[in-house]
């Protein structure tokens, strides 16, 4: 075999080795990204999952404690009458409802607000804000309620919510979540009584 042919083969082999290495490296990066995303997001709705929400809330609490002037609203949202959809129309329909609700929430909150699916038909949003912004948040929640009721009028679905404020009402994650959950439940009860 001619020497120049052997040298070309050797260099082509090295090139193939590098090409293959890059291919494997890119694939590894892609898989890692997918894995990270799977670990961060709720598979059904694409919203942040519960674990990420808790982690982000911890960081937000630290931030507002340090900066002093800012606040974080912890908004606990829960669908009303959702169980009926699953029971009557099945889980597939239930999943569709959850996806649509997630879409409404994503569109209604600001880009820098953090919206998560907390579990089942429960959602938690973190809304960083300055003092006096609570009215804007309430107006947004009323709009969310209206859109959900309109979208699922056939199923009688609505949404109840409760708000807790950090650091004023607590600097502990579970404390704030529990408080907002409790207030959401009070709203739900009020609605029932109105009926």
């Amino acid at each position: 075999m001619k020497e120049d042919v052997k040298i070309t083969i050797f260099f082509n082999y090295l090139e193939e080795l590098t090409r293959k290495y890059n291919e494997v490296f890119e694939l590894k990066e892609k898989l890692l990204k997918e894995l990270q995303e799977r670990a961060m997001y709720d598979y059904l709705t694409g919203l942040y999952n519960r674990h990420v929400l808790i982690e982000l809330l911890e960081k937000e609490i630290e931030r507002v404690k340090r900066e002093g002037e800012e606040r974080v609203f912890v908004v606990f949202l829960d669908l009303d009458n959702f169980k009926k959809v699953n029971d009557i129309y099945g889980h597939e329909k239930g999943d569709e409802v959850l996806k649509e609700v997630a879409k409404i929430l994503r569109e209604s909150f600001r880009k820098y607000d953090i919206v998560s699916r907390f579990g089942g038909d429960e959602f938690v949003a973190l809304v960083p804000t300055k003092e006096g912004d609570k009215d804007q948040l309430l107006a947004r929640l009323v709009e969310i309620e209206r859109r959900i009721e309109e979208a699922f009028s056939d199923f009688g679905i609505s949404i109840s919510y409760g708000i807790a404020v950090a650091p004023d009402e607590g600097v502990n994650v579970s404390e704030l979540i529990n408080l907002s959950d409790k207030r959401m439940y009070m709203m739900k009860e009020k609605k029932k009584k109105r009926k």
């Binding site: 042919v5 083969i9 050797f10 082509n12 193939e16 090409r19 293959k20």
Partner: protein, 382 residues
């Protein structure tokens, strides 16, 4: 056992055999002849027993372009080895005259039944490529050996080498019990011997690994989900001619489920979409593109030769079945390999450049048909 190896390159078959007869005498029990396909093979079975003064049952011959006479490569000549048993040794010959297009399992079963797997036996299988049929018999035999749980280290051998015109490989011949057989195979079972088999590859341990997504027999269709033909194209890029020989420097190493190398495959041909190799490949396996370097091959051969010698202690004879593609990649160092075997094993050496080597795989678990390796069998009469 007394063993002698002798050769001749006399262009007249009768004269070549007579020259060998003068060198080896007549005091032996069995003779094996590696005969170049340039000779009229039909004369071998008629002439050889007369010249060597033996019964037809004591003489076999087969086609081989280049054969080994101790440390010498004899191109286009005749090489003979003779055995004279002194203690428990004896030889049993089985042969199969025809390979049908199907029924490889049946033929492998018949072959399996003829072999002996006792601890004092070793089987040497020699056969013709038979348009790609023989490797499937070896594959079926391998499955049987595994199923029956008999020692795989009792089997080795090689495929006859014949001229290749274009893509067509000429048929190889063998002469057995006075018959000339084209496209068959034979098994020599040595009984009353201690033996050990070594396998030298010399292939690079590192290299890019691909999944064989689809393979049919000798053809690899998809590697990593892409047409397999793209790989040789990339390796040959910038060379101009699309000859397959340069690819013999980059054989494929078949890996087992644990990622360990088990066998080598040499490129036979390729198209835009597929690769053809010299021995079957199965879908689902992984292959590593290796690189062969002369120094690495020789280093591996030296290691293997030392290991087999250590195992056997003293050897009466050494057989070497070495791939013809290996001969190409070793270039002017091809003889070095024989010199290493001669120096390390210190026994008469007989063998030939094959078109496929039969031996246990690199993990020692399964019988494999290899490409681009050197299989070394050393034996000592008990």
């Amino acid at each position: 056992m007394k063993v002698k190896v002798a050769s001749s390159k006399n262009p007249i078959l009768r004269l070549a055999l007579e020259e060998i007869a003068d060198k080896i005498g007549s005091d032996f029990d069995f003779i094996i002849l590696a005969v170049s396909p340039k000779y009229p093979f039909s004369d071998v079975s008629r002439v050889a027993p007369v010249i060597f003064n033996v019964d037809c049952s004591q003489c076999i011959a087969f086609s081989s372009i280049d054969a080994f006479s101790n440390t010498e490569i004899v191109s286009e000549g005749v090489v003979a080895t003779v055995f004279k048993f002194e203690r428990k040794g004896k030889i049993k010959l089985s042969y199969f005259s025809e390979l049908s297009g199907s029924g490889f399992d049946r033929q492998a079963k018949e072959l399996f039944n003829k072999l002996s797997f006792d601890c004092d036996c070793v089987n040497v299988i020699l056969g013709d490529y038979s348009d790609g049929k023989f490797p499937f018999v070896i594959r079926s035999l391998s499955t049987l050996i595994e199923k029956e749980d008999v020692p795989v280290e009792r089997v080795c051998g090689g495929i006859f080498s014949t001229f290749i015109e274009g893509k067509k490989k000429e048929k190889g011949y063998m002469s057995v019990e006075g018959r000339i057989i084209s496209g068959g195979f034979l098994a020599l079972t040595f009984e009353g011997f201690d033996s050990t088999i070594g396998l030298s590859t010399g292939a690079f341990k590192a290299g890019p690994v691909y999944s064989v997504d689809r393979a049919l027999g000798y053809e690899i269709l998809f590697l990593d989900g892409k047409p397999a033909g793209l790989l040789p194209k990339r390796i040959l890029s910038g060379i101009g001619e699309e000859s397959v020989e340069p690819l013999w420097y980059t054989p494929l190493v078949v890996l087992n489920g644990d990622g360990q190398p088990v066998a080598l495959r040499t490129f036979k041909s390729f198209t835009e979409t597929s690769i053809e190799v010299w021995a079957p490949v199965e879908s689902g396996v992984k292959v590593k593109l290796s690189l062969v370097v002369v120094e690495e091959i020789l280093k591996d051969t030296e290691f293997v030769a030392r290991r087999v010698k250590e195992k056997i202690g003293f050897a009466d004879v050494c057989f070497d079945f070495s791939c013809a593609a290996r001969q190409v990649t070793l270039e002017d160092k091809a003889q070095e390999e024989l010199i290493i075997y001669g120096r390390e094993i210190d026994a008469p050496l007989f063998g030939f450049f094959t078109h496929g080597e039969i031996a246990p795989d690199l993990s020692g678990r399964r019988l494999e048909l290899h490409n681009q390796t050197s299989v070394c069998l050393v034996m000592r009469e008990l």
